[in-house]
Subunit: 509 residues, 2 copies
Amino acid sequence: MSACRALRGSNGLLRAVSSPRVARPVVGSLESRRRFTASTRTMSSFYPSWEPEGPSVKTEIPGPKSKAAIAELDEVFDTRSLNMLTDYTKSVGNYIADPDGNVLLDVYAQIASIPLGYNNPALRKAAQSDDMINGIINRPALGNFPPTEWADILKSGILKVAPRGLNQVFTAMAGSDANETAYKAAFMWRRQRERGGPNVEFTEEEMNSAMNNQSPGASQLSILSFKTGFHGRLFGSLSTTRSKPIHKLDIPAFDWPQATFPQLKYPLDQHAAENAAAERAALDEVERLLTTYHVPPCAVVVEPIQSEGGDNHATASFFRGLREVTRRHGVLLIVDEVQTGVGATGRFWAHEHWDLPHPPDMVTFSKKAQTAGYYFGDPALRPNKPYRQFNTWMGDPARALLFRAIIDEVEKHDLVRHTEKVGNYLFGKLEGLAAKYPGEFENLRGKGMGTFIAFDNPRRDQFLAAAKKLGVNIGGSGQSAVRLRPMLIFEEKHADILVEVLEKIVKSW
Amino acid sequence: MSACRALRGSNGLLRAVSSPRVARPVVGSLESRRRFTASTRTMSSFYPSWEPEGPSVKTEIPGPKSKAAIAELDEVFDTRSLNMLTDYTKSVGNYIADPDGNVLLDVYAQIASIPLGYNNPALRKAAQSDDMINGIINRPALGNFPPTEWADILKSGILKVAPRGLNQVFTAMAGSDANETAYKAAFMWRRQRERGGPNVEFTEEEMNSAMNNQSPGASQLSILSFKTGFHGRLFGSLSTTRSKPIHKLDIPAFDWPQATFPQLKYPLDQHAAENAAAERAALDEVERLLTTYHVPPCAVVVEPIQSEGGDNHATASFFRGLREVTRRHGVLLIVDEVQTGVGATGRFWAHEHWDLPHPPDMVTFSKKAQTAGYYFGDPALRPNKPYRQFNTWMGDPARALLFRAIIDEVEKHDLVRHTEKVGNYLFGKLEGLAAKYPGEFENLRGKGMGTFIAFDNPRRDQFLAAAKKLGVNIGGSGQSAVRLRPMLIFEEKHADILVEVLEKIVKSW
């Protein structure tokens, strides 16, 4: 049974707000915060009396306390990418707080990695459990000395939500090494096939050349990725990342190929023919690279929605085509669900939107899972000998336990379906804004994809700064995208606050 | 003040056992376990009433319960590298337990990554703290939204033990990405210097070629590492790892150079001249590669003791020479202290043994630190723009908090000096065994290096299996090394148990 169906089958406690509310920005004033009191009943659907009534901006951000603390931090830790110093003890639910008393609605959520809000009481309970304490203080080398209960932790957690067709996992630490270990599995799988199967021994030449980083021991194979894709920033994953020069400059890279990701035009229904042509051209380019690139690809890695690269979507038809062309050429398909996974698109895994006739060969995960790894199903993806795919920790049971607690909450509150509904509500509101303010909410995208929604704004960076002043923390991606990454506990009332702030920004210009 | 001096200055509570005891193997029988009761007083030096009196082997390992659980686990998780299924809830101090009731003295310690024993009460307290719970349930994107207290967590923890001369840190998840982010810093540093400084902008050609994984944007530079060295298993770190073919086969690698690590002969005092010649030759080879290799090295990475590669030592003189030659050629020196760091060599950092006139440029850490990252001092090692060295999580505050608690305990009990003393005691005993049983404890090494001791045995794998049957969990490394990696709470009484078992093994052959 797929994760999607499993989650949809549960009886959630959710009572979503369906009545549209007209409300004004709620920034800073007590009056405006009181105005939201009427809607606090709806919060009880998840966590009664848990959240503030709305954002509250009291100082510039960073305020004086933050500035002093940032200066101190910068002595020992690079703070130039700092967005907002955060008081996590005062952050609650959808709201992030800073040391100056500012409280913002957070639709960035630690770069899309917080699933259930700050200081979630169910996760707090999990963090206080004996299991968690054991996981923290007795950290195992999972490949050598797994805990007695490791199978149970996996089956009741990570594997309970395994994508359809994939029933095994290799656990990792974060998105980059999840992808890189998946790539390693792909290289070993391909070379084993070329060699003639799992029982064919390595040659002396292979062993000697591998030690010297030369072929044939070090394979001359590649991973094909897509332009504007993002798969991490270590050396192998960065070689497949094509987001921005600043991510790649000066770092040695493998000579691996990139294909054009279809650049869809919006609104989709007005550009159906040319979008279909763009997707067909992209698939043709993939096929050409698979068959002719001078460093042959053994796998294609793709995000269901290119996230860091600017929220670039493609249709289910494109992805079915990608599955078809990779299968036809004996190349693995790795779906990178690091940012899209765990519910935000209205499915537990975004690739469930595609109705694939054959599952991906591997699916990588991290971020909202709070742990990481890759799922696979084909036993041939286990390398033919032990210690080929191995490292000291191979993940972190403490974080695997947290993911289990997250899954339990997602099921209990039916949060995937909830996110689908709230996303539809939010998308409708944004369509209204886009119609009302031409040029400000361009290429609105993510319809039917839960709250995984984005649009372009020509003054994107000022747009994000203005939102912060008005009490909403939003992230950008790509060149001009405003990307919305609410948590799974984001409700219609939060969508209303967000939409009001967005309108206020463009009205003020 | 160096970490070493800081720790040595504290007044530890340690009361080490100095009286030699003659004792027999303590395996399995109640009688033998009773015989150790007399020495349990000494345990009170750290944690009263905490440990069992000795190992206890009740079944074959794996026993029936373990076998059933391993079979279940193997359905979803590769178990071919499994050494021993572990019941962490029953493991205490230096003793590791399994589900069949076997309790072994553990001198492998999760591949050298457990510093203070299983179920350490001080770490339990830290795991139950509000700070830890906050760190678990509110995981930040540290580069964008660091916690208010992040500077304090760093300064009272990771940076409190920073190597002399290195006052900044980039935090990471594990040893591999600690090394890879250090390598990235090295590449950016070198290219910035070649470019003419931090204010010289990237060219269009650089930006475009970087996106296509080609030079000049993707630099044609390398990291020089040593034969039989180990630095991790992701694509960049694996390109510097030269331990065994099985670690590298089929994985694409960068064309980076390797130098010969000096192969010292033992005992050292009988081979002084030829060892010095071997070290001089190795330094000459390094210099030749730095000046002539067709992919110019911008950094040299080296372990203070090659650990996975077989516990290969070099003298302080060699490392001073390495620092000299790297400085002279404008190449960075990265010291990989992932396995050697945090006390086991009788210094907090193993490179403190070298008395370097200039500190390493970067020092990487993980394992016993339970968190990871690299230390640096030169501000030029911060890349010239934000987001060049960045990822979503950039480490884990929960694990940083655990390291802080570890440091507190190390200081409180003066565990670095303790480990130096116990190591000397153990080494003396092993010298006795080596003299008594020629050929069984060959190339005994690690004198004066705390408990970081190893020897070669021609039947190494049988040796380790025999040790396990007799109640001691030991690891191997390289081709024939038996590597001892006790925790920092290993005492002379544990050394006695270990030595008795080692003797029993060779007597039984």
